[in-house]
Every structure is written in C-alpha cells, then in structure tokens.
C-alpha cells in the first residue's frame, strides 16, 4: 500500500472517519495503530526495529532530563545519538564502508576477505533517526521536555503521513498538536483533500510520466550528450514533482486530522542562488542540518575558512544521508563547493553585474540568476542520478561538453519521448507552471482559487481528478522513500 493507491485512500478515509468519531482521549491509540499498520504493510520485518528505536529514544530522553549536570546530560545524549546512528549505520552504510574498504584493499593489493552482506534498508530509518536525534539534542539544550506519555511519543516517531519521507518534524511542533483535541473542521478537510489531490496530480502526471523516460537515458550504456542534458533537466523536474508530491500528500493527510506539518518546498527551481535553493528545497531537512550539524560545527569558529569548512562538512553529511554511495558524497561536496564559492564571490559578482549594467534590469538579472542556479543544481544531479562514480563522471563530462547543448541536438533528444507522451507531459507541465506562477504572485493558489467563481473552482477540482484518473501513471515508488 503506497500513498498512490486506492487502498491507501480507503485506509485513510476509514482513519479520518473513526478519528472524529471517537473521543479525543482514544485518538492517540487510533493514530498509533494506524501508523504501525501502515508501516507493517510496507515493511513488516522492520517493525521490531521501529519499536526498539522508539522505546530507546523515549527512555534516553527521560534519562537525559533526569541528569543533574550538563556534562552528564551530554554524555547520555551522545550515547543515545551513537546508538541511533549505529542502527542507521549498520543498515544503511555497512556495505558502503565494506565495499570502499574492499576497493582500497584491491588497489593496495591487500588481503580483504569480508564479503558483501545482503542487508535491506529499513523503511524510513533515515527520517525517523533524524527526528529522534533532534528530540534528544533538544532535551539536552532544554528546548524540549522529555515526553512522558509513551503513546504520544510513539506517534511522534511513527506518524504515518510523514513517516516514509518527512517532512522531518521537531517534537516541539508535533507533540502538542497530538495532545490538543482537534475538532472536525470543514476548512481542514477541504484543504487537506486539495493538497492530497494536488500531490496525486504531480506524482502521477509529472514524476511517474518522466521516470521511464529519464531511466531510458541513464540506463542506456551509450547516451548522447544532448540526451544526458535533457534527461538531467527532466530528472530535476521529476525529483521535485515526486518529492513535493509526497510532502503535499503528507501535509494534506495530516491537515485532515487537524495536524499542521511544516512546508518542505517553496518552488526551489526558482531560487536565485544556491543558498536560496537550500532555503526552498527539502526545507525541514535543511533546517535540521543547520541546527544540528552546521551550528554545532561553527561553535567558537570565527575565521571565514573555518565557517567554509563547516559548510562543506554539512553538505557532505547531507550527501551521505541521501544514499550510501560515493555519488551522493560527491553530490554533497559539489553543493558545499557551490555554497562556499557563492559566498566568496558574492561581492565580485555584484560588482560585475553593476559593471555590465545588469543590475539596471532587475527582472532580467533575476531570471539569469534563476537559470544559472537551476543549471548548477542540474549538474549536481548528474551525480545524484548516476548509478556509479564512473558513470557519473562520464555523464558529467557529457553534460559539460558544449556540443551537447546544440539546440538541434537537444530538439533531437526529445525523441526519447514518443510524440504523444511529449504532448501529454507538456500539457500537464504547463498546468503545474501556471499553478506555480499564481503562487508566486499570490500567497497561495488555493486561496486565489477560492476568490474565483464556484464554476471555475469546481472545473479545476474536476480537471485534477479526471486527469489523475485517466492520464495518471502509477506504480513507481517515491524516490525519497528509498532513502
């Protein structure tokens, strides 16, 4: 049962109905049971790990709070984080480290006998581990009280709408919402349904339509440079549609239960710089990295070079978190480099813009910055998408070759689509862009829509549903669900 299925919609409808039917004091049981059932359906073998991690974090949180001195609290917190990261490391990074050692040993002609281990990555472990770490750190700093109600705490750990791939929430935000009695509210239900429908729209009409097209190029042993350029751009569109759809569905589901989750995206492909990009892309993860990696790394550092080193290290953590492969490490490093380079050259770039009088046309200047940022992000995603480091460098070379950017070559590369598929994709892509355009000029497209006539609103809702039903492609898992 994935989010994009009739089974999930039925499951969720039953949960919502029951949730508002039963008294508040029993709702946590329902949410917890629903979360565990949802997880069990997807990955029953890792339920014990989820339960163990929950119990461990719960107990550790209380122990931290009970310590009298800051030093003791720190010690317990570090032990707690170590254990949580050990679970994550064992399942996610064991083979990565093992393979790396084997490669080094082969290169150095050493004897290394530890074979490859068949280890399956537990579903959502990367996400719930981050929530657990932030919980323990927040208790240590006194920003969060250790939760005593085991039921509420367990929901925080495994709340099914955001369990699989976020948004990554802090206990401070989520726990109080579970405790407050949520009233049946028309606005919440209405808004939640719209967000879910929009998530389905992006996932089935953009992301999953693009997935096989992108794969056909990246799986091809001999793609042309123009195909790599086009497929990388399409992959960026796919990745955003896929991940933001997942967040939309999570936010929509939670909203229908009266719970507000954090926004995870703010049109990242319209960012004017890499710094701006990271304030718009996977926001809850970026803020987590800022609060729990970057700021502690910067503690006591004043030199620019030290801050830059902290930035690069933070992005390396980001890369390795995404996937246990060197391609992700390189991807993280590239973003760290972008960020440092961007900061270092900020003044110079400003002067250059003044020199060529670009700053006198702010609209043009802004769009040039958007285009450059987007292309830089796309380039990094060559590494994100490629299956191996060798393949990634070959593809990156193709991406950077001027010949690959010939307009005629790019036009020809569109033939990776069938003509019919291309027309259908472009139509829905334009719809999404119009939606984003309205959002950029208004606070929310949904609010803008509610100011329109009832006919226009209904036509839009019906258009979304009919499009998903008829043209929607399903069957692909969520990309971030695999992290």
């Amino acid at each position: 049962m994935t989010f994009i299925s009739i089974e999930f919609l039925l499951f969720f409808a039953i949960i919502v109905f029951t949730y508002y039917l039963i008294p508040h004091r029993l709702r946590w049981i329902l949410l917890l049971a629903a979360s565990y059932v949802f997880y069990a359906i997807l990955s029953i073998q890792f339920i014990p790990l989820l339960l163990t991690s929950t119990a461990f974090t719960y107990v550790t949180g209380i122990i931290i709070e009970k310590q009298e001195t800051k030093k003791q609290k720190k010690k317990v917190m570090l032990v707690g984080i170590f254990v949580l990261l050990f679970f994550l490391g064992w399942f996610k990074y064991f083979n990565f480290v093992n393979d790396s050692f084997r490669a080094i040993a082969k290169y150095m002609d050493w004897n290394y006998t530890l074979p490859y281990q068949e280890i399956v990555l537990p579903l959502a472990i990367s996400f719930y581990t981050l929530q657990a770490v932030s919980y323990l750190v927040d208790i240590y700093y006194g920003k969060q009280k250790a939760e005593r109600h085991y039921g509420y705490f367990s929901i925080y750990f495994a709340f099914f709408p955001q369990l699989v791939a976020g948004p990554i929430e802090r206990a401070k935000k989520l726990l109080p919402q579970f405790k407050v009695e949520q009233k049946l509210n028309y606005e919440n239900l209405h808004y939640g349904m719209k967000r879910i429908a929009w998530g389905f729209f992006k996932k089935t009409l953009i992301a999953d339509r693009l997935a096989p097209i992108v794969s056909s190029v990246f799986d091809n042993p001999n793609p042309t440079g123009s195909q790599i350029v086009l497929a990388t751009i399409l992959f960026s569109i796919q990745l955003f549609a896929d991940f933001s759809a997942l967040s939309d569905i999570a936010i929509g589901c939670a909203k229908m239960l009266g719970i507000n989750l954090s926004e995870n995206f703010k049109q990242p492909h319209y960012a004017v710089s890499i710094a701006d990009f990271w304030s718009r892309w996977h926001i809850t993860f970026s803020t987590w990295l800022r609060d729990y990696i970057f700021i502690p790394l910067c503690k006591g550092k004043k030199k620019r070079s030290e801050i830059y080193l902290a930035i690069v290290m933070t992005f390396l953590v980001s890369g390795i978190w995404h996937g246990a492969a060197w391609t992700f490490v390189i991807w993280g490093f590239i973003h760290g480099f972008y960020r440092v380079f961007g900061d270092y050259t900020k003044q110079f770039r400003g002067k250059m813009a003044s020199f060529i009088q670009l700053d006198q046309s702010p609209v043009l200047h802004k769009w040039i910055k958007i285009a450059i940022t987007f292309l830089l992000v796309c380039f990094s995603r060559v590494f994100f998408r490629s299956d191996s480091v060798t393949q990634a460098f070959e593809n990156a070379q193709l991406f950077l070759t001027i010949h690959s950017w010939r307009p005629s070559g790019i036009v020809q590369a569109f033939e990776i689509f069938s003509l019919l598929d291309l027309v259908i994709f472009l139509f829905f892509f334009i719809i999404v862009q119009i939606f984003h355009y309205i959002e950029r000029n208004n606070v929310s497209t949904w609010k803008w829509l509610s100011g329109n006539s009832i006919t226009a609103r209904f036509a839009f809702y019906i258009f979304i549903i009919v499009s998903v039903l008829i043209f929607g492609v399903s069957g692909q898992g969520f990309i971030y669900g695999g992290f």
């Binding site: 508002y20 008294p23 069938s418 019919l420 209904f458 019906i462």
Partner: protein
C-alpha cells in the same frame, strides 16, 4: 459507563454537525464533483473498451465461447500473432499468441486450450528475440478473460475488476488506446519505415538489449529456458506434435539481430536443451528478408506476408510428416 457514553455523545455531536451547514456543504460539493467526474469518465472508459489493444485477445475470446477441434495451435509473441493464417490451407487453426507474451503464459494457454487440439495436432512454439529475456510482470490483463483466475500471477483483485469494468483507470491502457487512434502521430524518425526501417530496428534492438540485461540481473532467463523444456515435455506427454519456429524479419531488423546477437539472446540457451523436435528458422529466409511488401514494420508480417509464410510453414510441416 463514561467510556460507553462518551463515544455516543461524540457521535451525536458529529451527526449534529453533519446536519449543519458546514459538513453539508462539503458533502454536496463532493457529490457534485464525483457525479461530474463519473459522467466525464464514462465516454473515456468506452473509448478504451472499444480500442484494438483492449480487444487484442478477441480471437481467443470468440474461441472460448464457441470452441471447435483444431489442427494447429500457435503460441508466442506478436511476431507469431501476425505470422499465421492457415485458412487457405484448409487447416483449422487457433492463434494463442499475444504481444510480449511470456513463455509462462504460452504454457498456461496451451494447458487451457490444448484439449481442443485434434489427435496428432501440431503446436507451433514461436521463439523470438525476447523469448528467454521476457518477464511476466506486464500485460496480465490480456489473460483475465481467457484464463482461469488461478492461472494469473500476480493476481490483483482491484486490477482484475478495474480491467473488466473500468479499463480507462489504467493509464497504460488509455495510452495504448490513444496511440492506436493516432497511429501516425509520431516523430518522423519514429515511423516504422523511416531510414529503410533502420530507426525502428535500432530502437527495438536497444529495447531488447535492455530487457536482456535486466533478465540477466533478475535471473529470469534460466526460468524461461526451464519453462520451455517443461512445455515441450508436456506436449509429448499429451501426444501433441511440437515444432519450434522463428518468424521472418526484414533486412534492417536482421542487421541488428544478426547471428552473433541471436546467439547471445537465444541459441546459447536453446542448443544445450537438446530438444528432440524440429526447429524451423525462417528469420533470414530470402523469400522475405528483402521484400518489404510482406511486412507492416521490420519485424511483423502483414496480411500478404502472413498468407505466404503460412503456406511455406504448411508445406514444411507436410514434409516433416506432421500434417
């Protein structure tokens, strides 16, 4: 008592709210939306139901309704489906081939419809480039009406009913129906005979290569080879006369699927089986290779080619003493 009365009071509260304007509004809205969506969906659903691809198994369905004894059965993929027309030869024939049909479904169909084969009847097992690399996950919908449910793997109840009654819910089926309606709406370079069929053959080659790589990774080749042996054993057990065939292709296709490639895709697995049955390989038959007029596209025969080819097979089967 409190435990019992509290849900009840909540229920009352909800029902009061449902009666109220707020929830009523949502209910009315949803009803209107669902009604309009349904009304719009009906013609689309009918469009898919009437499409060629949805009815690709119509010959099998017609046979299932009114079965009759047959002299010859052919199995296989679209290459086989477009290749046989025995009516002029006087043979009664059942075509059990479907596009991208796996050897597993060849076997399932044979078990289901083999009983209608006359004593000493002939079974043509068509071997194509994808026979051993093909996997079973796609196109199960084609078999919902022609096979027993228990034969369908994996069987999904929701997919089963949606295939029967709401096929337009599957975008793949809708896309096929749409593509069938706009057959010529293709890139110039994607037209079947552009560049003398080379573009088509190259794309097909890349697709088959990718499928083959996947099959190697998933270890499906060994299963398919084993399935072929099982099917041949089944035929001899039942007293059917079996022949393996490979249908003709056009020159451009043969250039991509040359001896070396075919050896990699097919023969290296077929030879070690040492099957004691005839293998009629027409793939590079000179009567077809250079005659484009016998083909719809570089690897599928048209009605003209079908007639000619079926006569040739008929005569060769006679020579073998099968007919």
């Amino acid at each position: 008592m409190r435990f019992i009365s509290e849900p009840f009071s909540n229920l009352c509260e909800i029902s009061t709210k449902l009666k109220g304007f707020v929830m009523g509004r949502l209910f009315i809205k949803l009803t209107i939306i669902i009604t309009v969506v349904s009304l719009l969906f009906i013609p689309v659903n009918n469009f898919v139901k009437q499409s060629h691809d949805y009815n690709i198994n119509h010959a099998m369905l017609a046979f299932k309704k009114h079965p009759y004894p047959v002299d010859i059965i052919n199995l296989g993929t679209s290459h086989s489906m477009y290749a046989y027309y025995f009516k002029p030869t006087g043979l009664s024939h059942l075509d059990l081939a479907l596009p991208a049909q796996t050897i597993q479904y060849d076997y399932k169909l044979l078990r289901e419809y083999g009983e209608y084969l006359k004593p000493d009847g002939v079974v043509i097992i068509s071997i194509s480039q994808i026979t051993f690399a093909n996997s079973e996950t796609n196109y199960v919908g084609n078999y919902y009406k022609v096979l027993d449910r228990t034969e369908i793997e994996p069987f999904d109840l929701i997919d089963y009913y949606s295939y029967l009654y709401l096929p337009a819910l599957d975008s793949g089926r809708f896309n096929s129906a749409l593509a069938g309606k706009f057959k010529n709406f293709k890139w110039n370079s994607h037209q079947s005979w552009k560049n003398n069929g080379k573009n088509y053959s190259e794309r097909k080659y890349e697709k088959v290569e990718a499928q083959y790589r996947e099959a190697i990774e998933n270890k499906t080749i060994e299963q398919n080879v084993e399935q072929l042996r099982e099917m041949v054993d089944y035929c001899s057990e039942k007293g059917y006369r079996v022949v393996l065939t490979m249908e003709p292709v056009q020159q451009s296709y043969q250039e991509y699927f040359n001896e070396e490639v075919m050896n990699k895709l097919v023969f290296q697995y077929l030879k070690p089986l040492e099957l004691d049955i005839p293998f009629l390989n027409y793939m590079s038959d000179h009567r077809f290779v250079n005659n484009r007029e016998y083909f719809i596209d570089p690897d599928h025969l048209n009605s003209e080619g079908r007639k000619k080819y079926s006569w040739i097979v008929y005569k060769d089967l006679k020579k073998l003493g099968y007919l």
